[in-house]
Amino acid sequence: MNRKRSFFCIAAVLALSLIMSASLFAQDEKKAGAELTIKEVTQITDILDAPEKYVGINVLIKGTVVDMCVKRGGWMDLAGDKPFTKFKVDGRPTKVLFPLDSTGKTALVEGTIVQVIQSVEEQKELLKHNAEIHGEEVDLSVIKGPKKIYQVNALGAVIKQK
């Protein structure tokens, strides 16, 4: 009787584990943060053309993830709809971490447009961090002084896997 009960307990734990892990297999998309609520996508180049207009506004943007923090997934750069443009998505202020295998995939991100003044020290840290990730030489001569940038503080994101 005890052997049957033990077998039943082990089988129940394994079955429960399989059910719980079922959602991990073959996902079409991965999510981060809160569910997306905005339906209409705002083009990244529209934001880049007049960023002050969007400060404080919640938007939904879409683009290919062209760079990201691959250690913790705290930030991503999304490609704009026009060539040579990209836009930063920051999950650190809102405690949103993006899936670490998002590079090269299409992302939908909902968040608030903010204006950030990056100090010279912050720019140096960022350039060194990026250079370390990509195995590049650091070129600090591009830093001219404090820089005003615009970014999305992410509330939620969906990364398409295919």
């Binding site: 959602s23 691959v70 250690k71 040579f84 990209k86 899936p99 670490l100 299409t106 195995g135």
Partner: protein
């Protein structure tokens, strides 16, 4: 059955059950504790390569990028492409990317390999799955608390909590407090 016998049974059986998860959390814990020194999820290497320059007219076609991947003998699949500047193109693949200068053909292949098993351990430890795993992880934390409490009462006498046990428990409580005062 007296309470100590029950305590010891619970400690033994919960302990056995927690072996697997404890190993996962320990290994992952050490790995992510050193994130400032290494990447605990991916092994990233950079390789300088050379291929043919690409004409602007060819940049619209996905076949161009597939050809670059083949020419560089990279065993990977094309996924996407981005132009960070007029001179450069970044080709994304399943396990890495190529930053290519279209005028010179100079390329840097960034190979990204997942640290298999360790990455999955980190995935669980850092609660990336969320949803039901959050509850499972909470249950494991409760099991560890149960192990800590029952562990204090497993033995009797000189080796029990009334003997050496109280000194070691005290030292274990003071140890993190010292660090809090030192660093906070």
């Amino acid at each position: 059955m007296n309470w100590r016998r029950l305590n010891n049974i619970v400690h033994r059986d919960v302990g056995y059950f927690c072996v697997g998860l404890t190993i996962i959390y320990c290994i992952s814990g050490i790995a992510v504790n050193h994130t400032h020194e290494w990447n605990p999820n991916f092994r990233i290497t950079h390789i300088d390569m050379q291929t043919d320059p690409i004409d602007e007219s060819e940049l619209e076609s996905v076949d161009t990028y597939r050809a670059v991947i083949r020419k560089l003998n990279i065993d990977d699949e094309f996924m996407n492409v981005f132009r960070p500047s007029p001179d450069k193109v970044k080709i994304f693949m399943q396990n890495g990317n190529i930053l290519l200068d279209i005028h010179t053909g100079e390329a840097v292949y960034e190979k990204v390999l997942s640290r298999t098993i360790l990455r999955e351990m980190n995935y669980l430890h850092l609660n990336k799955p969320r949803s039901l795993w959050t509850w499972a992880a909470d249950a494991y934390a409760a099991a560890l608390l149960l192990l800590a409490v029952t562990g204090m009462f497993v033995l009797k006498g000189k080796t029990g909590i009334k003997g050496r046990g109280k000194w070691l428990i005290g030292a274990g409580v003071i140890f993190p407090i010292v660090f809090i005062f030192a660093y906070l």
